[in-house]
Amino acid sequence: MNWFKKLIQRDQTYPSELFDSLQLKFKHFLDLLDQNNRVLKTISDMEEKLREEFLFDMNYVTSSLEDVRSGVLKMIDCMIVLGGDDYKKLQSRYKWIDDEIELILPGSRGIVPDELTINFTDLGKNRAWSVGSKNAHLGELKASLKLPVPDGFAITAWAYKIFLEHNDLQARITDLIESVDITHYDDLARISGQIQSIVMSAKVPDIIIEDINLTLSQIIESDDVKRFSMRSSAIGEDTLFSFAGQYRTYLNVRVEDIIDRYRLVVASKFTPKAIYYFLSHSFSELDLAMSVGCVEMIDAHSAGVVYTRNPVVADDNCLIISSIFGLGRYLVDGLLTPDEIKIDRDSGQVQETHIATKPVQLALDKNSGTIEIPVPIDLQNEISISPEQIVELTKFALQIEEYYGTPQDLEWVINREGDLKILQTRPLRIIETDTSSSLPPDTNLERIAEGGETVCPGAAHGRIFHVTSPENLISVPRGTILVVPHSFPGLVTVMERVSAMIVEVGGVASHMATLAREYGLPTITGMKITEKLKQGSDATVDANNCVIYKGFAEEIIKSRKNKGGLFEDMPIIQLLKRILDKISPLTLINPTSSKFVIDNCITLHDITRFSHQKAMSEMFRSAGELQGNSEFTHQLRTKIPLKVNVMLIGNQAKDYLGDKWIEDSNIPSAPMAAFWSGILEQKWPSTHSQSQDDKFSTIPTKTNSSRKKISFEESSFAVISREYMVISLHLGYHFTSVEAMCTDIAGKNYIRMQHKGGGATRDRRILRVHVIETILSNLGFTNASRGDFLDTSVGYQDKETLLEKLKLLGRMIMCTKQLDMALTNETLAKWHSDDIMRKLGIEQHKENTIDYFD
């Protein structure tokens, strides 16, 4: 407020400058109100899209999010103008919330400058916008949870951008991508090849190389012969859309090869399957930057995956460990069927163990890279993880799940010394199934295959179509049941058009499995493919029970139909829901509470709520500071024994400069005039006149003309313009503020009232709030009350309707002014609310009364 004080001092000589600055401030206030209105409208629009089951696309999600973001940012800017630098804290609060949103829909902010490389020890989950969630979570596990995570660092998205810019790559890549025909694998492969070779022939700028070397030196001692794995950690990978296995990973990389492998991982952003994936999800390739993780290589004795829940049977209280000998890649690529151990989440007891035959393993090659070697015969059918390791892994996995609050999909490795390390964690998608509909149905149809495991539940009918290599994917007809010997690159390109998928080798924890669940594609893995699954034969897949029937089993298809909300399981619906979780809940309710502070804003709605409230306070404060300056403030001349100071904003303010009085018969504000006419009509209540509420009911004499600041708490105050008013009424021990915007555009209009306190005991004050709520809900207001605080509003109606409501509101406020004293019980409260509504001529809707008094 120093700014303001200065102005006041200068005001002695430059009154018009003060006037102008004040008006500028008011302009920001009105801007803020306007933005607030827009943001709230966008939020309720987004909520409506979910609630009413709209069909919308990604563009809707991103553009709505953009509207909310820019509106909130503008509000914060206005707040800083209105209230000074103290409100700059809102910016960091905003960023904190927005980082969370960025985690849900990465890339929506574009690539933001950051360091080029960051050690895992300096990373946390909220840096996913810069290093991708894979790297960010590894940092989080290592730095915050102190879990055993290998050393390593991230090469950021910013480095990626610099790499592309340095070589002028982006425009060429964009052109190529725009020319691609996304469902023809050969065309995809051709374009992909061109882009990758452009990337591979580009030079990594020295600035990045130097930075990588510097960070490497923090990790490697001089005589160390550490090897690294280089893994993609694209911005957007592993979020709602998993991109599972879309990008390349290089294992056992020598230090001298790091730069070259970095380029290769970046190039893998443009593999055919990756291009297909982001195009078909309407992601802009530009927004999906590639960060790369450089992680100390672990020489694996065994490795695998943990799902902290069963992804296809939600009420099964199990954690699932998949494990193989050697490096984990053969598991996630679906090339080996792993051992599977199911563990009860509560007791930690092993419930089931399936040991698979593991003929081979992937091991580190002496020089670099990997080599496939046989598993010794006597170990091939042995379990690849020890009981102690199972216990330790279970403990870590549950700890991580608890920390993140959602089921997790982790990758782990055990080194030659038997030490466990965590390599990755990401959210696990759970497919909700209704177990009652999953029972094997009663059918006479012949079973032509059975066995294996459910990767994604569901049922489908179609013709069997066998594919053994990526080149044949192009010929896969729509609606068929795809049968493959194992997972291979490019399968994702047909997931959208096949009706079900059968995979002979592999577990439920491979990348293919993650994608199948994402696409909601009924899929079975580990099913022995027999001669009966003839090419072109008609069949029905029951993925819940892992059975394939000959012909069309209508009853099975019917019983597997989606039973939840129509769209509930759809990724785009879940996306909007999760974004809204960070935007729309209002947790800051009561502005008189000590918890009504910036640090407690946890959603963007909270920020708007906080800003709106504080903007009004700031307006009152500015007005209060100008009390002494009679040129700018006016008093309302009225019969009501209430001193109301009035400040005009907007164009007409000039007309009243220097006037002491504003007549209550000629208030230059439509909403205020309507509101005050209600107060006048109802008159000042004469009963209970000796109550403490009358403390301020006579016009104070000269106390206000001194330098003493008149605060919000001590006087009634109105800030008005032709179409707007906000008035803070001090009627004794309670405060009521009424804000209204009444323009020719219904979409901008609203009335909002807040009410708190009173002279009576708390239960009586609460009863009064209930009386007010009852009356106002019959007037069409939406109420939110907490204790004796009430926040109520009505909006989006035409001017005349709202002016009428304002008048009734004025009358009601007079009627309830001292009511709390009289409200000794609920019967009386009910009687009073009925009585007031009768007096005001408000029609009573039955459904609006039951809540409070029954």
Binding site: E53, F54, L55, D57, I182, T183, L279, E496, R497, L566
Partner: protein, 189 residues
């Protein structure tokens, strides 16, 4: 008419989210079949056999936009009706689509009821059109006697459908002799 195959819809959009939502709504809330593609360039091949009654297409797609696809479909003359999905506020394109022969347009985002109603309107129209075509065929028959035979057999067929196959009821309602009804019914089969 009852026993005929359900009408078939093809939905085209490069974004699979929208396709998934359309697929869900059509398969769960209407009696129609739906197939989808996220590659508009695949559509000419898919509609070769003219098995679709209706194509629902997005406007903006890489490769070929919705208006171009509409033009292709109309020129090919396979009889598919067309609903175009446009972004909110693109009135000109919606207008162009209607002038270009689209049955309807719908702006995103839209309520599920909107698309169901639009699809139902198309299907009602298609049914009415089929019936009209059948009637016109009868009018084209020469000489008069063969038109009469066709008319009578259609008449009885419909009456049988209406009466749930109950011959006594058909005799009563038609006022025809039993032998005549049986003869015509046999002919209809």
């Amino acid at each position: 008419m009852k026993s005929e195959k359900p009408m078939k819809i093809l939905a085209v959009d490069n974004e699979i989210h929208m396709l998934k939502l359309l697929e869900r709504i059509i398969s769960e809330k209407t009696p129609y079949d739906i197939e989808t593609t996220n590659n508009v360039l695949e559509v000419p091949e898919m509609i070769k056999e003219s098995k679709y009654d209706l194509i629902i297409s997005d406007l903006k797609m890489p490769g070929m936009d919705g208006l171009e696809l509409l033009q292709y479909v109309v020129e090919r003359g396979g009889g598919e009706e067309f609903i175009i999905i446009t972004a909110f506020g693109s009135f000109d394109t919606s207008n162009n689509a209607m002038e270009g022969g689209a049955f309807d347009y719908i702006t995103k985002p839209f309520r599920k009821e909107q698309i169901i109603a639009a699809v139902n309107r198309v299907m009602k129209f298609k049914t009415a059109q089929k019936e009209l075509d059948e009637m016109l065929e009868i009018f084209k028959s020469r000489p008069f006697e063969s038109a009469q035979v066709e008319f009578e057999s259609q008449y009885i067929k419909r009456l049988f459908d209406e009466c749930g196959g109950e011959i006594e009821m058909v005799i009563k309602l038609s006022g025809l002799a039993r032998e005549r009804v049986e003869e015509l019914n046999g002919g209809a089969r």
